[in-house]
Amino acid sequence: MLIQRTEPAEGETPPNEGRWLMAQRRRGGSALMVAIALPLLSGVLLVGQAFCLASLLHRVVVEGADLPAVTTMLLTIAVLMITRIGLGIAAERAGIGAAERIKRSLRGMLYGALLDHRPDWTSARSSGALSAVIVDQTEALDGFFARYLPAMVQATILPLAFAAAILPVDVVVGLLFLVTAPLIPLFMALVGWGAEAATRAQADAFTRLSGLFADRLRGIVTLKLFDRADSETQTVVLASESLRKRTLGVLKIAFLSSAVLEFFAALGVAGVALYVGLTYLGFVDLRGSPLTLQAGLFCLLMAPEVYQPLRQLAAHYHDRAAAKAAVAEMAQQFGALPDLAESTIEGALPEPAPASSALAVSVALEGLTVYTPDRKHLVLDDVTLAIQPGTHIALLGQSGIGKSTLLEAMARLRAFDGKILIGGELLEDLAEADLRSRVAFLGQRPRLFHGTIADNIRLGRSGASDPDIRIAAERATVMEFACTLPEGLDTPIGEGGVGLSGGEAHRVALARIFLRDPGLILLDEPTAHLDTATEERVIDALLAFAVGRTLVVATHSAAIAARLDRTYRIAGGRVLPAAHPRWAGPQRNREGVA
């Protein structure tokens, strides 16, 4: 049961990331429209501001006007400035708001997609890498929506609008702007092509680094005890170094593209200055009328502004590349991009209805075949088995033979071929809530979350009352150690059960089962970490609970097998009836024994 490094699912080309990104715009709502529209308005006002400033200087320098004579103009400029500042603030806030909304909704969708997969999907992936996609790569979309999109619209419209405004003042300068402005984005697109591949490599390096950290931190005690501190630190430094090189590779291209743009912008400004200067001096005469200082200054003031939106676009061009790389990374980690049509309905899954039907259910396996996740090895080969309602069954077999696999398939936590019928219904046809209320499953390595012991038991049923939890804890022999703790069931435990011994942690997880009311109970090694005396008590509690329910237990323990109705052994991909081990304890008569 081994995995391949996660590659994009073969045979399926990643969809156009750019188009997918643009489609996410609608998650931003009207705020995004505001963020795009306001800067355009501000651009119009800018023309007026430059015109006023040029006129003011003209009157002062050429006509020798005094301060009181130009006060009105000064005030006009001040009002224009204040208005533009206000527009700028509003636009920026709208952009940020839209970007946050988009990221939030996207994260919810990605996390939902993750939970909707079967656990065998997540277990083949790195938790660090997946969390990096949801947290960090999604963050990389921020610049695209908050800055790149508005900048792109501005760069398309404003330079041409400015050039048109300058045309009446001076035809030559206006034409110069009209011709040079569109050339620049064209050139930049060419540079941007190269940037994309490099950005993708960088996003990949970041995800890999996160995966490395998540993995190594988990086992840091082991690494320390094996004296691996230096060599593992070296690994981390090398991975960081490779991230640095890749990032710098991306940045070099991004910086080059903005340098090219600056060059053209500078050429444009210098060209205007030279043309205006030469016209003043009479070396050039391309206009009928003489050029006033006011007109000349206006052209000079507007020249940097014509190129400003383009420079801004160049500065944020990197955001677009980063966003596309992030989307590609999402597609790679998630196998495919989340469906656009699927809107985010957080918590769309209904809370499982409290199972009222405690009726034992039958289980039938027909031609059940299960492969390892890479589909290279066969674990279960054409298994057919019928379990009567209320029967208690032990599954034996060497470790790694497929006991857990069989239980996971029956709990719909793993892909399989063939049929599994629960209570006569096909497993895949059962509604999720229905399935979960009828079938209880406890894996071999159940997860304990950060929180109190009671919180962890309550995972079995969200609304469980404190007395219910106490009863469940007693049944799973949790109270035996919990009552020695100062805070009892309210004792906080670390994630993975830190603070508890292996056996204690397992009993906490087991207690969850007692909060449910299932017709079928699937348990994987419920007593693996327990000593004989505790095991005996746990089995007693489990059997008492399982009366009138169907029970399947994968176990190595002869003590359990002896007390169940039937024993099967898994070997060579088959499930075979096995001799029933003797139990020295009192004989019992129970219903449901076929």
Binding site: S131, D215, L217, K224, A270, L293, S399, E525
Partner: protein, 574 residues
């Protein structure tokens, strides 16, 4: 800020590159100011000039072209060197932080969650990039060039110089300071919400089966949504404050532009300066505010950087719970293990071990039996100094392990703990952690001893087969055996096994325990188990009951340290 200050030694290492970045930033800004100033002056002078012949055209025009080129090149250089410096700094920081975690292991894992730690080492480190590249550099540059510009203005038009100087000072110092004050709390909130989001994702992955099986995915989604809501809100507030600050800086630029104009008109009337110079100065003022806009953008992120620095400092400082002695004594040869009168409890009021004695002679094989939670794992953890006892002492080769370097101790004693993970990587990489220089033959030998060789041989890739994070793609038993093989591979003369056969079926378990003596010949073995022990697996077995060891049925009498004297009982606990 104090947290940021803590990291200055790392910054110092890159002082040369930083100085270059600063120099190039200044050059860029200076060229920009000069470019616009000269253009304005040139244009106005040309417009006013009546005799074209007498006007020096080539000087200014070549100056304009030269300045443009300088500005483009220096900006490219500034960005490249600046980012390179920052990225080197971050790489250093990651390595340094990761290395500084080891002495603190095992940290109080109950307080520090896995996802949170991952967040600190990735996202938090990343957010420190703002500090130098976009905050310190531009502030210093703007201050230097702004002062020069203010002095120049002041010498020509005192009133204009004063207004410009005050406005610039406000834009560079006051607005950012206020902004930091406003965004600090929000920035901290954003950093913690981001970590919470990551923890929620990792929890969802690690507990995926449990969440689905118990129908709790809706609750998990709700917890995740509340984390992302917090994150979005905090970020929006930080961004909003940044937008207001950017507006304020623009306003200050406008004030100085209008102020310089108003005072300039007076100066022009008085004949203090000429029209062209006034226009040149005005355009220079506009250009000099270019740097301040960038400052505000990055200062808005400084709150988050400071919070990140605090979180990083928190994991890097503090006395490690288990420290090496100041002058460690060399650990003499030998593999005798002695526990004398050891008392220990996670909560010292309720000790798990109470005056426990145990001697395992070199090459001896001892099993510790007892119910789960009785303190077996704790006993073994004390032997590795993952904890120190509150009373009594643990010795290896007749030397108190608190007197020797941990590294020496860990070379002498290897542990297979219950929670040791399989690492993301190949089977070979996982095994080599046990002994880096082991040959393939050694690896196969260890796999054989752990009864995993057949499985590995059965895979197409053999030793190079990849195993997932925490070995989730292996069965529990296979993962356990891989860790076992890793421990067997270690050359430590003392091996401690905590439930080595958990997850193995009875047959394999019995075979393994019988094999153990052969696989570990000559080494000292401490083994905690609740399994039945086959004949000959160990020399002695003890049962851990009420914090003390007693001989288990059918095994020899309890060995006591022969030198157990009263004064030893009062061995220092700390």
């Amino acid at each position: 800020m104090t947290a940021l200050w803590y990291f200055r030694p790392l910054f110092r290492r890159h002082a040369g590159r930083m100085a270059w970045t600063l120099l190039l930033t200044m050059l860029t800004l200076a060229a920009g100011i000069a470019l616009l100033g000269v253009s304005g002056w040139f244009l106005t002078a040309a417009a006013l000039s009546t005799a074209a012949v007498s006007f020096n055209l080539f000087g200014p025009s070549s100056l304009i072209r030269g300045l443009s080129l300088v500005r483009i090149l220096s900006r490219y250089g500034e960005k490249l060197v600046g980012h390179d410096t920052t990225l080197r700094l971050l790489a250093d920081l990651r390595g340094w932080l990761f290395a500084s975690l080891f002495p603190r292991v095992p940290y109080a894992a109950r307080d520090l969650r896995h996802g949170d730690l991952v967040s600190r080492l990735t996202a938090d480190v990343d957010s420190l990039d703002t500090v130098f590249l976009v905050a310190i550099g531009p502030v210093v540059t703007a201050l230097a060039l702004g002062s020069a510009m203010a002095v120049l203005l002041f010498s020509l038009i005192p009133g204009a110089g004063l207004i410009y100087g005050l406005a610039l000072l406000a834009a560079i110092l006051i607005v950012p300071t206020v902004l930091v004050g406003v965004t600090r709390q929000r920035g901290r909130e954003a950093v913690s919400a981001s970590a919470e989001t990551r923890m929620a994702v990792i929890d969802g992955i690690d507990g995926h089966s449990d969440l689905i099986a118990f129908g709790q995915t809706a609750a998990a989604r709700a917890a995740f949504a509340s984390a992302t809501d917090r994150l979005a809100l905090a970020r929006r507030q930080v961004g909003s404050a940044g937008a207001w600050a950017a507006g304020a800086v623009q306003g200050l630029a406008g004030v100085s532009l209008l102020g310089v104009t108003a005072f300039g008109i007076g100066a022009l009337r008085d004949g203090v300066l000429s029209g062209p110079v006034l226009v040149g100065l005005l355009l220079g003022v506009i250009a000099s505010f270019e740097a301040t806009a960038a400052i505000v953008r990055s200062i808005a992120k400084l709150g988050a950087s400071m919070a990140a620095a605090e979180r990083l400092k928190a994991i890097a400082i503090g006395r490690p719970p288990i420290a090496d002695p100041v002058r460690p004594v060399p650990l003499p040869d030998g593999s005798t293990v002695t526990f004398s009168n050891v008392t220990f409890g996670h909560d010292s009021a309720r000790p798990v071990l109470r005056g426990l004695d145990l001697t395992v002679p070199a090459g001896g094989r001892v099993a510790i039996l007892g119910p789960s939670g009785s303190g077996k794992s704790t006993l073994l953890a004390l032997l590795l100094r993952l904890q120190d006892p509150q009373g009594g002492s643990v010795s290896v080769a007749h030397t108190d392990i608190r007197a020797v370097a941990q590294r020496d101790l860990h070379r002498r004693v290897a542990l297979l703990s219950q929670d040791t993970p399989v690492f993301l990587g190949t089977i070979r990489e996982n095994l080599l952690i046990g002994r880096a220089e082991a040959t393939d033959a050694d690896l196969w030998h260890a796999l054989d001893a752990a009864r995993l060789a057949d499985f590995v041989r059965g895979t197409a890739e053999g030793l190079d087969a990849l195993v997932g994070e925490t070995g989730r793609t292996l069965s529990a038993g296979q993962a356990r055996r891989l860790c076992l093989a890793r421990t067997l591979l270690s050359e430590a003369p003392v091996l401690a096994f905590d439930e080595p056969t958990a997850g193995l079926d009875r047959e394999t378990e019995a075979e393994f325990l019988s094999d153990l003596a052969r696989a570990t010949r000559g080494r000292t073995i401490l083994l905690s188990t609740h399994a039945g022990l086959p004949e000959g697996a160990v020399d002695r077995a003890y049962r851990l009951r009420d914090g003390k060891l007693e001989p288990a049925d059918g095994f020899g009498p309890l060995l006591r340290p022969e030198d157990r004297a009263p004064q030893q009982r009062s061995a220092p606990a700390d």
